[in-house]
């Protein structure tokens, strides 16, 4: 068993920064559910600190607690003292993985297959995507559902089946040229991150992102067959693999020759902006990673920063509400920009969603690892959408997009029947200008 104690070696002031005032409690979805301190941010930090102080063993119970946490980072928004919970939480998950307190054969196998194999190999991920697409588009999926094939599977696995994302017919590389030049340049050149799930299930949103950038005078560079950004690995205790993926991402762009690296998935963006910390010990990459962090911009953040052009045509929608991706609002503090974009679209009537920044339960792979708690949060989200009573909800992260779409589909009749994204609506508005 490896002897290095990650929580002991972490900069103690990060742990100590928590003054246990409790202001995070009412914003933590797991604490609000159970009202138990161990299910709260300050409770979890106290457990981490107890491990760092040698007062608590790394146990199965500790591991369970770290995986019960959504990692939504709502606590970071609420924290008066600016505790870096993301770093603590990733370190704690790495600690419990290293201590191997949680290992069962099955869990180990699935973790290895997904984290070490599939999400480390962009070509393999896309091959799987192609196969899944064939399965979904040939009617085989419908047939399997019709004959209740999934009834034969363990219930936990069968429950996940409807959540499988619908795979796009074409991936980003088929839709986006490696270098696209705007008709009227404003002198900006940006790199585009196409993501992994985003690329498989929402390549159209990547296309929309390029169109919106072009319409705002940005040249767009899109490297081929991109890797996973490593957020999945970092959030699941595999920091070494996350570092490897970070180096690959950095290598795929010529950082000196782009003004920004654009990400359009909230969850990825939040992680992409922390490569500097992740690689701070790496003699070759530390400086590059710092430069990288400065250049990574969420699409909404970038558009507002360059004073994007307000469209003159509408997007064909009326009332729209907005669900905030946790890692966009809490992780990246990008709160007003997506709203500004929605409000800029002629004819669009923006209406706030109650609890818009409360996690929808998607939370990376949380809906797979903690289906019960995930479902409770999804129900809460669907209910809030009902309260809003608006036909369209926009969001900005593939996980949230899939989760909410699944939630709405499952409840049959619901006033909200369309899930979209702010960039898609903006791209539609720009396209409508052309047709007008």
């Amino acid at each position: 068993m490896p002897s290095a104690n990650l929580l002991k070696s972490i900069d103690y002031s990060v742990l100590q920064q928590c003054m246990h005032c409790g202001m995070c409690l009412p914003t933590c979805p797991t604490y609000v559910e159970t009202k138990l301190e161990r299910n709260s941010p300050r409770g979890r930090i106290s457990l981490m600190r107890a491990v760092a102080d040698g007062e608590l063993e790394v146990s199965k119970a500790l591991s369970d607690e770290m995986y019960y946490c959504l990692g939504c980072l709502a606590c970071q928004t609420a924290c008066p003292a600016g505790v870096n919970y993301a770093e603590l939480f990733e370190t704690a998950r790495a600690e419990v993985e290293q201590a191997q307190v949680n290992d069962g054969m099955q869990r180990g196998f699935w973790r290895w297959l997904s984290l070490n194999v599939i999400f480390m190999r962009p070509w393999l991920l896309r091959v799987i995507g192609r196969v899944l697409r064939i399965y979904q588009s040939t009617g085989l999926e419908k047939l399997m559902r019709k004959v209740h094939f999934f009834g034969l599977m363990p219930r936990s696995l069968a429950a996940l089946e409807p959540q499988t994302p619908h795979i796009s017919a074409q991936f980003s590389d088929d839709l986006i040229w490696p270098d696209e030049v705007p008709k009227q340049s404003r002198g900006y050149r940006v790199g585009l991150l196409t993501g992994c799930i985003q690329d498989l299930a929402f390549s159209n949103i990547n296309r929309d992102t390029v169109d919106v950038l072009l319409a705002n005078g940005c040249e767009v560079i899109t490297p081929r067959s991109q890797s996973c950004c490593g957020s999945l690995h970092a959030h699941n205790g595999e920091l070494e693999l996350a570092r490897e993926l970070a180096r690959r991402q950095i290598d795929s762009f010529d950082l000196d020759n782009v003004d920004a690296i654009i990400t359009n998935a909230g969850g990825c963006g939040s992680h992409l902006k922390t490569y500097g910390h992740l690689l701070h010990d790496d003699p070759f990459y530390a400086a590059k990673a710092k430069q990288w962090d400065k250049k990574v911009k969420d699409i909404h953040e970038w558009l507002v920063q360059i004073r994007f052009r307000k469209p003159t045509a509408g997007a064909g929608v009326g009332e729209v509400t907005y669900h905030e991706s946790c890692h966009l609002c809490h992780g990246q503090r990008v709160v007003s920009q997506p709203r500004q974009i929605l409000n800029s679209i002629p004819g669009l009537v923006f209406k706030e969603l109650p609890e818009s920044n409360w996690c929808c339960g998607s939370a990376g792979i949380y809906n797979i690892t903690q289906p019960e708690q995930s479902q409770k949060l999804l129900d809460r989200k669907v209910e809030n959408l009902r309260q809003a009573g608006v036909p369209v909800v926009a969001t900005s992260n593939p996980g949230c997009h899939l989760q909410i779409a699944n939630g709405l589909r499952a409840c049959g009749s619901h006033p909200c029947h369309q899930v979209t994204q702010p960039v898609t609506l903006l791209a539609q508005a720009y396209r409508a200008e052309q047709q007008a």
Partner: protein, 464 residues
Amino acid sequence: MNQIEATFIQSLKEILPPDRVLTSAEDIVPYSFDGTAALKQRPGAVVFPLTAEEVSECVKLARRNNVPVVTRGSGTGLSGGSVPLSGCLVICLVKMDKLIEVDEKNLTLRAQSGVITKEIDDAAAKVGLFYPPDPGSMKISTIGGNVAENSGGLRGLKYGVTRDYVMGIEVVLPDGTLTFLGNKCVKDVAGYSMKDLFIGSEGTLGIITEVILKVLPRPKARKTMLALYDSMDAAAKTISAIIAAKIIPCTLEFLDRVTVQCVEDYAKIGLPTDVEALVLMETDGHPVVVEEEAAQMMALAKANGARDVRAAADEAEGAKLAAARRNAFSALARVRPTTILEDVTVPRSELATMVAFIDSVAKKHKLQIGTFGHLGDGNLHPTFLTNERDHEEMHRIEIALEEIVDETIRLGGTVTGEHGVGLAKKAFLKRQLGEGSYELMRNIKQALDPQGLLNPGKIFDPRN
């Protein structure tokens, strides 16, 4: 360590279902502290009753087994009042969270102890009513904790503190007796005002399980203003002038120079960093009166030497002006790993003297102290920015605190305006109270809790 006995745990599980009795390390380590810096102690067990009867059964059991009991709400206290004793039983009331009744005819609200303070005011607001006490932690603090600590807030000058809104309490006494003190009557002189004994008793005399609160009609309008000063004296003079003009503002908050600088570093809201004091003022009530008072307050601020005075046109602008005050604690808390929030309070007329004294103490002992607080009621929050692992600096803080406490008492003030004595202020209590009243308090504790089971060692040491 005083280990809790297995048989005792077993008996607890006969009173409460096992999932409401926590004993494993992972479950109870997070109950080792409250919101107070540098204090922690692991309890023996944590239980979650849902009813006053269950609380009573737990207390009776603890009494039979001679196990000390510490009551806790959300654990946001700032004087160590709910920090456990090693191996004690923690009775956590957060699951007693039923809001029982809003009585519009009698202007009262009845709730179990574990209801969150903000939910109390939200429930009142739904029917146009108002629960004024607004401690800084109101989004998560429990009403039971507020009553047990007699919490304050920003509206002290005009609206008073928690005590002024408590009409009745249900309480479990140290022997397990369940009783109700007070009622919905505005007038009630039937015997001693027993409820008042328990308000602010910090869990040492009984466990409050339910409260009846007074609520008020909600003010229809509010106006926010911000004034900047080159001297603390000028700020203090403005406040005296406002009160002399027979205006009682609902908010009179100030930030000193260090705090303003930290806020600007953190929140970048465009504040000049060379001001000596920033004052946030609000008046609320009937719209016409509010307008008139606001104009008067601004004129008085200018006449008394304010460098700049601004008034918000609407709620949104008001929120912008209030941003500096709202960010004060956050801004200070980020500067160093440990933040020690103090709570000394002086008569309003001595406030400028006290702020200057704190400033001189900081310079003398080479410490970072940001002071902010409530100008209207003289309640100051000198905030020490430090690192609890730097023992040498912590020692200097101790000396500085001694000096601040002595000066507070000399000026006729109190060592704690709204945080309570708990563990943090215990050493100073006798100095402030004097022998007579200190012993009177201990006699009361002795009479109600002869076994010394409820929150022993808080406020004062137990008698042998």
